[in-house]
Amino acid sequence: MTTVLERDAATTGTAPSPLLQVSHLDVGFRPRGSHAVRPVVQDVSLSLPRGGCLALVGESGSGKSVTARTLVGLTGAGATVSAESLVLGGATPERDLDLASLDAAQWRRVRGGRIGFVLQDALVSLDPLRPVGREIDEVLRLHTELNRTERSHRVRELLASVGVPEPQLRAGQRPDQLSGGLRQRALIASALAGEPELLVADEPTTALDVTVQAQVLELLDQARGRGVGVLLISHDLSVVARLADTVAVMRGGRIVEQGPARSVLEDPQHEYTRALLAAVPSFATRGRRLSLDAGAPEAAEPGASVPDASVHSTALPDAAGSAPAGTAPAAPSASHVAPAQATRTGRGEHAASGKDDTRGDVVLQATSLRKAFRTPGGTHVAVADVSLALRRGRTLGIVGESGSGKSTTARLVLGLTEPDAGEVTLDGEAWAPLPEGRRRGRRRRISVVAQDPLSSFDPRWRVERIIADALPARLPRAERAARVTRLLGQVGLTDAVAHRLPLTLSGGQRQRVAIARALASEPEVIVLDEAVSALDVSVQAQVLDLLARLRDEFGLSYLFISHDLGVIAHLSDDVLVMRRGEVVESGDVRSVLTAPQHPYTQELVRAADVLHTPDRTGRRTA
């Protein structure tokens, strides 16, 4: 511990050199069998003081993770790294370390010693066959002089310091025996074990539930308080807002904006930063479009370097606010409800909350659903007692953490799993429990959009056939093709996509295809199970805008399931908060979010901070 104190003294001392100084960093990858280097990171300059927190923000493919990996020497074979300077500053100038000149053996001494590294998913980065205590012990063995007993003492101390209860017991457990939050804490403990000066955290909270996420952020903040510099990599602006004092926004391998967190998040200068901030859904963004310009962000997607990307983006209907040519007055057979509602112009309002509640009859109702699964350790009650009512033209959000039973609820409502007790009715008619044969004819009234659209597409089928499969049977060939084209247009895709295999589409395009298929059967209800969770924030914004537009255009009712309270707050009219298989609170989204009654809802609202856009939160101090 004395070293930490010394380090503290150093930080408070006179003008120390920055902990990390990176200037003009370029990283490129050379594909196998090629001589051309593909640049991934270009001209990145960063500076991080001791005890500071610098956040690298950007979407997938922006180069932020590659930058982080470069700083721990893990870029891998085939990468070329060049920088004007890449220096880890020591307490004294003699301890300055030129990271660019290290060989593999030297890196091993630095990694885990002077630089700690925390990855996104602790389940993947921890050895599944090794107790977590041993993992931490190894770091101590490599980087400290402690003997065996001192080390085991220190392991417990470290685990306790990151808030792991019963450290003695937990140290002996393997990663799969720990919860996600505990795993991440153990990983952070192992990263801190070597008393690093710099902690590189690559999406440290992305896989975690919001309440756990808040605790992990607290932990990183504490480390910072002890003088550790934290380089935080995240796509999540609310995480960044809480922890970072400097923010660098990356896009396409370059830093487009860099500055103090407060000014970047509150008064963004670069257009891209503004778009990124505006794309974050929250209670405050209700009824507003999230994507600024429909064209640009989609084109920036890494997977979008496809021949028709430009065609596609210009054809996005949202940009003009009017329906695409394909949607217009619609062929006589298009029996979709009330296209007349779509007479909005400009950057239209979705009228999520503003409209009167006359469109109110209940489409889908579930009463006292219960479902238990047999597990090796007994029975696990996934859904204990859930009742819900979805009204026509409205969106019912179900929010809860992983394991809260929200996906099981969705499966029960869809009739994919039969409930142990309770019943579901669709338009007042029995829906579940019911033999599949008696449900099949009405299946088309409920559509579904899942989190991972790719796995819900037959891998042999092209987009055209995937969508046509959901159309009514026995349509003439020409009519089928016309309908597919129209549906693609409705979700903002061009006809060129029709002949592609889903695998070659970007994440956003795939989700649009899934939505087009969901629309094809002209449903009354669409169940959206974490439908935007896997998407980058700007793509998520576009898909949310699309969903809102389609709902208003066709009078659809959504059962919208998400772990993200911000997304729920943005889109839902009513909300159901689930925890451990039970509904702890439900009601109008405004009253639930502004005046949460149940302590769990209160915690959720606080942790997710949905009532404000992230730019107003500022950084919390420990």
């Binding site: 594909p31 069998g33 090629s34 001589h35 051309a36 593909r38 370097s305 869809l414 994919l416 599949e436 099949r440 004819g441 009405r442 299946r443 088309r444 409920i446 559509s447 579904v448 899942a450 991972d452 796995s455 819900s456 597409f457 037959d458 891998p459 042999r460 499969d469 959901a470 295999l501 695998l503 298929r517 059967s521």
Partner: protein, 329 residues
């Protein structure tokens, strides 16, 4: 196959032939970087411009390794020998020449001659048809049985599935050759017996594989999606489950043919196959056994021919599998 190979064959001497380079250079994508484009390609950009629609082709051409090329040429030779042995053979299959008995391999007789002076090379060529037919027949029977058993085990009614599973497991417990031997011992040696013996010996492994495939596909997201669209069970079975689960079998068949020929030859070597005067490869091995000390080529060469065929079939099967996987992912 041959059309795919054509451009590659022109440039065989050096791997990374100019034709390949230009084909790769055609699409302007960064991801497909050019391995040192030759001067001729750089000097004349026009063909790359006109060949843009062939972008998909470029990937296939790029994967054309020398190994695959060699396998394809050899496979063509084997097929030619099976279809028109007269074109390749230098002598008749049973043309005796006692004065040249047991001649070692040389100019006149590339594979040497046997104890009655028959040209071994020509006998191998004439034996190809029988050997390949036995191999392909066994593979076809084996996979057909496997499809039936695997489908019943995966999708059949619970009780039936359980029975089929046990049967397959018991079958699995016997070594392949033992099972085949047993069968031939019962029926007596013949080509047909050989086919069925090998088929039944190799079926259990494939049945298990097919069952796994079917179960995987049945639990997949797209089958669930089809259910949610209101499609009936039969339609989902025909449209989604069977095609997706059985698709990998195309490649497996090639592997299975190679394997079957090896098994069939082993049976013949043990005297449980086609009778000796036939030039079937296993029978050649068996006949050569008596002279293994004085005329080792009589066993060595047919053995090598079998090994090469197995390698060729395996190589082609692997590439086919990779190509199918690539299309999938």
């Amino acid at each position: 196959m041959s059309t795919d190979l054509a451009p590659g064959t022109q440039g065989t001497p050096t791997p990374g032939a100019p034709t390949l380079d230009s084909a790769v250079a055609a699409p302007s994508t960064q991801a497909l970087a050019t391995p040192e484009p030759t001067l001729s390609v750089q000097a004349d950009p026009s063909p790359s411009g006109t060949r843009n629609p062939a972008t998909a082709r470029a990937g296939a051409l790029r994967r054309l390794s020398p190994g695959l090329l060699l396998a394809a040429v050899l496979a063509a030779l084997y097929l030619l020998a099976a279809v028109a042995p007269g074109l390749l053979a230098t002598h008749g299959a049973s043309e005796l020449n006692l004065s040249a008995a047991l001649t070692p391999p040389g100019w006149a007789h590339p594979f040497g001659t046997d104890e009655v002076g028959r040209d071994l090379y020509s006998r191998v060529v004439y034996g190809t048809r029988t050997s390949l037919l036995i191999g392909a027949g066994a593979a076809a029977v084996s996979l057909s049985l496997a499809v039936v058993l695997g489908t019943l085990a995966a999708l059949g009614p619970r009780a039936l599935a359980a029975v089929v599973n046990r049967v397959v497991e018991v079958q699995f417990a016997f070594p392949t050759l033992l099972l085949a031997l047993l069968l031939v011992a019962i029926t007596g040696p013949s080509a047909v017996a050989q086919v069925f013996a090998v088929a039944i010996g190799t079926t259990p492994g494939y049945a298990r594989m097919i069952r796994g495939q079917l179960l995987g596909v049945r639990g997949s997201g797209y089958v669930e999606a089809a259910t949610l669209l209101g499609h009936g069970r039969g339609r989902i079975l025909l449209r989604q489950v069977l095609p997706n689960a059985l698709r990998p079998l195309v490649a497996v068949f090639a592997l299975c043919v190679g394997q079957s020929i090896v098994w069939a030859s082993s049976l013949a070597f043990l005297g449980l196959g086609v009778a000796p005067p036939s030039p079937e490869w296993g029978a050649l091995l068996d006949a050569g056994r008596a002279y293994v000390v004085h005329a080792p080529w009589l066993t060595l060469i047919p053995g090598l021919v079998i090994v090469v065929l197995a390698v060729v079939a395996t190589t082609l099967g692997r590439h086919l599998q990779a190509a199918l996987d690539h299309e999938e992912h």
